[in-house]
Each structure stands twice: as C-alpha cells, then as structure tokens.
Amino acid sequence: MALIEMRDIVKRYQTGDTETVALNGIDLQVETGEFLAIVGPSGSGKSTLMHILGLLDTPTSGEYLIDGEAMHNRPDRQLAKLRRNLIGFVFQSFNLLPRLNVIQNVILPMAYAGVPARQRKQRALQLLGSVDLADRANHRLNQISGGQTQRVAIARALANEPKLILADEPTGNLDTKSSQAIVDLLKRLHQAGNTIVIVTHNPEIAAQTNRIIEIRDGSIVRDTRPRHTASLQSARSGSRRIV
C-alpha cells in the first residue's frame, strides 16, 4: 500500500466572480522511503499541492489517503493531530518562532504531542546532534546563520517521527553552499529511511532526488525517475529511520 495516494484531487478558489483552478485532477502515489521533488513554474499549483499533502488545506474534490486512511471530511482537531503525528514541515522562510531559542523550537511539536518534558529535551538534543547543531541548542535564532536556521527547522520537522517530510522551497532563502548542505542533509535523512517531498523550482536540487513530478496549470505533466530504483529499493527494504 502506498504511503500517499491522491485520486483526482481538484482545488478551486473563488475570488469574487472569477474562479481559479489551482489543481485540476491530480493523481499521485508516493511509497514509503521515496525522495521526490515537485517542480513547476510559479502559479502552477505546486504549493497548493504541497499544502493539501500537508493537511494544511483541503481539496475541493477528490480523495486523499495517507496509509490507506481517507483524509477528507476530518474535523480541525483531527487534522491538527494528524499533522502533528504524520507530517514534518520545512518552509522556505524557516518559520521558527523568534521568541524561542533553538532547542525550544525543536521541542514545540513534541510539546503539542504531549511528550513528557524530560524525553522532549533528550530527543531534541539528539535531533540537533543529527543536524550538527548540538552545540547551538541554547542559542537564540538571531545568533545562527540561515543555513543553520533551516537545519533547526529540519530537526523540528523530525521531532515526532513523521511518516512524511514536506519541504516547501527549503533552499529558497539560502546561498548555494548552504543550499547544498541542506540538500545533503535531506539526502541523508532519505537514506535513513524517511519519506521526503520537496517543492522546488531549482532543477539542480530536483535532479538530486529520485523522482521528479512536474506540474503545469494544476496538472501533472511529467513524472520521471532520474536515479531510479536502487536507492529506493534499499531504503524500502532497510530498517526505517535512524533519527
């Protein structure tokens, strides 16, 4: 069974009298352990697709299943819980809380999930270690670089051991060197068994994933696997997730 299954997902926005079709019948299956990129020009609907994948937005019609469970018509409270337990987000603008320090930001999803305080801290330190930021745990966000900030965000995304990591232009605000560091980190996480979907318009980054889905005007126009199967197979058969 696929981790993610989308059947004929349509998203329409009503702005005054004009209706915009953001997604026009998306069919998509993602297996556990895949590392895929969603690419396309701005306005193509890739962000909307990402938001629906992340349960931040709901489709106008169509079916969306995670682990075989239908996601439509769920009340807000359930969606919040599903986001908390199933999905880890990485955003272009980092979206860390500036009032919290590094480790407090990583702890946040665990706090909402009700993880006991001692355990939270322990795991947060472990996660920061896995993104090479153990020594920055008590730094404030304005004391670390952009690349480091995004690594904190990735550590946060991993906090509740999500089944799916969604990264929306994770390198959009970073220089080339930091960008590559982030992509390398994502690759490492993928090799450790995580399922990762990134949205990007940078072809170099997309090329480093195992599958590229190209969207145009709300429809998938191409679904290619540049570096096919080998890594995917090993990831699937190997033990899932170290971190």
Binding site: H51, G54, L56, D57, D76, R77, A80, K81, R83, R84, N85, F89, F91, N95, L96, L97, R99, L100, L108, P109, A111, Y112, A113, G114, R156, A159, N160
Partner: protein
C-alpha cells in the same frame, strides 16, 4: 501545556515591556484604586471601632436632632446635619436621663466657643468642652494621666482638664502644667488634670477628638459666655450590656415627653455609631468601586485591543503552531492565558500600588490601612475575570485562523 503557555506569555510580555505596561495601566489604576479605598475604609472602620470601644461598654450617646431616620420600609438613612444648630437638648434632659431606669450615669458635653490661651499663647485647635464631674464614670476614654478630674463640688470652680495636645500647644511638649493657669474669654482657669492620649483621631468618628479637648465644669459656662451651655452630646452609661436596648427605648420615651412629643433628638448606641460609620464608608467604597470599574472596563478593552493586535502580528506564528500540530483549542488557550497573565500582572501591580498608596494615605490621615486577604484575592479574581472576558474574543480569533491562510500572511 498550561505551564508552558504561562512561560510563553511571560516571554511575549517581556518582549514588549512598554506596550504591555501601557496596556495594563487601566487594570493597575482600577485595581489599585479599589484596593486602596477598601484598605483605608477598613482602616477607618477599625479606628472608629477602637475609638468607640475605648469609650467603654454600654455607652449610649444622645444627640440633638434626628440624625437617623427610618422610612416606612424600615430603610435607615443618616443625616448628620440634623445635629447641627441650636441644640434641642437641655439640662432638664440630662436630669431626666439620670432618673431613667437602667441608666448608671449621664454626663452632658457642650461645645463652648472661645479661644484658650496661656500667657498670650493661643491654642487655636483646642476643643473647648463643658461637662460634669462624672464624665470619667460614663466614658472610659480619655483617662486622667496626671492630676485629677473634676470633683462634684467643683462644678462652678474655674478649673480645667487638658487633653495632651492642648497641653503641648499651650505649655510646651510634655510640660508639667498642673497648677498653672489658662485663660478663656478673660477668665482664668487652673489646670488640675491632664488626659492621656486617646489615640489618633480619624475625624470621621461621632466622638470628638479628645486629645485636643479642654474640659471645664458645666457650671462655669454661664459666667464665661453669658449663655446656657449648648449640649451637643449626652453621654450615658447603661447598667449592663444586655440592658442597653430597653434602656435606649426608655430614654427615648422619657425625652419625647420632655420635648412635647417630638423626636428632635437621637439616642445612639455604640453599635448604631459603628453601623452609621459603616454605612457611610460602604457608600463611599461603592462610589469609588463604581468609578474604578470604569477604569477596569477601559483596562479590559485595552487588553482586548492589545491582544487583537498581538494576534494579527503573530498570524504566521499561529499558522506555524497549527502546522506543527497545535489544535484550535490549544491556540485559544495560549492567547487566553496570555491575556489572563497580562491582566493578572496588572492586578498584581495594582495591589502593589495600593499597598504603598494605602499605607501612605493611611499615614497621612492618621489611621492604619487594613489590607484584608479577601480584598487582595478579590482583586486578583477580578483581574483574572477581566483577562478571560476581554481575552476570549482575540483568542477565538486566533483559534479560528486557517493554518494555510495564517502561514501565508505577510
């Protein structure tokens, strides 16, 4: 989660100190005013209670004019001006009261106008009172500290008993004035006794400030002023505590007969005095509370305003929190707790202000402000209530945000 929200609230408050302080100002002023006034009110009540109980048990005061009247519903109203003006009480009334069953002793007190001087030094704050020799049998305070009181046969002798303040002003602080003389309207009186201090005077009490008093015998008044003394109080000592009420009724009946059937006088027990003072203070406290509640309302609106601004400012934060798994109710709780922490902090500062202000104000008017635990807790309770009432709308606004819209907010 609640504790984390509290910590979070403090963090966001610390991040905006000036704005937070300005927001809390209404609450600080409102709570501060209410707590200050009630502490001073309670202090005054204690003070008056002390003064009244200092006078001794079973003391009844008879006043000219109908000070307390009851309407047909039994609701009592207090009219202090009724006792001002030409007195309706006479020497005959004193005699009548003395003869009334249940009365142990009765002494008239008359206010005499005239400046008291010693060697040309005037005591302009002296309260010149004429009374009879048995005054110390009727009221327990003031007590004689040195020398002696009037003897029954001295009613027409030119002798005087001074309160400690009067002594200090006329003769110098702590001076031995016994045997020395004072002058009242060209008449010379010999000082035979000094009263002990009866404590501070609130000025709100029904009993005059005895520390400033100069007592002279009743029988000398006509010689000094050319008029019969105007009796403004008759102090009465009843036989026993349990007998006070019927004795009051008997005095009323007897005096009414003296006054041709008119109740142009008041007979008040210590309880009446206390409840009169309480009535005045409660009315005063109520009025201040009404004004303060406007400050609290304004303070509450201030909190609501700031929370609305804060929610808008933190739209992305709300979106992020929801994205990482915060349910709407947790977001609601977060902002509600922040509002409550804000108003509670305001309340605490208000209470602090009141502790300082009440103590200072009490000091200024010569009483000890009393801070009842219930008052403090009520103040905190009201603060929490305001936080909830005015914080709920912004919190709901935050909770209702759709995560995707909130995250996209610029």
């Amino acid at each position: 989660m609640i504790w984390e929200n509290v910590k979070m609230a403090f963090r966001s408050i610390a991040g905006n100190k000036l704005r937070t302080f300005l927001t809390m100002l209404g609450i600080i002023i409102g709570v501060g005013a209410v707590v200050t006034i009630s502490s001073i009110g309670a202090g005054l009540k204690d003070e008056v209670g002390k003064q009244v109980s200092d006078l001794g048990a079973n003391v009844i005061f008879v006043l000219p004019g109908q000070v307390i009247s009851s309407d047909k519903n039994g609701k009592q109203s207090f009219n202090p001006t009724a006792s001002i003006g030409t007195s309706t009480l006479t020497e005959a009334d004193v005699t009548t009261i003395r003869k009334t069953k249940g009365v142990q002793a009765a002494a008239p007190l008359s206010l005499i106008s005239g400046i008291v001087t010693h060697n040309g030094t005037p005591d302009s704050s002296a309260l010149l009172l004429a009374t009879t020799s048995n005054i110390n049998d009727v009221i327990a305070s003031p007590k004689i500290e040195s020398g002696r009181g009037f003897k029954p046969n001295e009613n027409e002798q030119f002798v005087a008993v001074l309160g400690p303040n009067a002594r200090d002003t006329l003769f110098g602080k702590g001076a031995d004035a016994l045997g020395l003389t004072i002058s009242i309207r060209d008449h010379t009186f010999t000082v035979i006794g000094i009263n002990a201090s009866s404590g501070s005077n609130s000025g709100l009490s029904q009993s005059p400030g005895f520390d400033d008093a100069v007592f002279i015998p009743n029988g000398t008044v006509k010689t000094v002023t050319g008029q019969e003394p105007q009796i403004f109080r008759i102090a009465v000592k009843a036989d026993s505590q349990s007998d006070v009420k019927p004795t009051v009724d008997r005095i009323k009946t007897a005096l009414k007969k003296n006054h041709g059937g008119q109740s142009d006088f008041s007979v008040l027990t210590q309880d009446d005095l206390l409840s009169t003072v309480s009535t005045i203070l409660n009315a005063l406290t109520g009025a201040i509370a009404a004004i303060a509640s406007i400050a609290l309302l304004v303070g509450g609106i201030g909190i609501m305003n700031m929370m609305l601004v804060s929610v808008t400012e933190r739209t992305r934060e709300i979106g992020l929190r929801k994205a990482v798994g915060a349910t709407s109710s947790l977001v609601l709780l977060q902002f509600l707790i922040e509002a409550v922490v804000l108003s509670l902090l305001g309340g605490a500062l208000g209470v602090g202000l009141a502790l300082a202000g009440g103590t200072a104000a009490g000091h200024a008017i010569g009483i000890t402000a009393v801070f009842a635990t219930t008052t403090i807790f009520t103040a905190f309770g009201i603060s929490v209530g305001i936080g909830i009432i005015f914080g709920i709308a912004p919190a709901i606004k935050a909770a209702r945000m759709k995560p995707i819209d909130a995250l996209r907010y610029e």
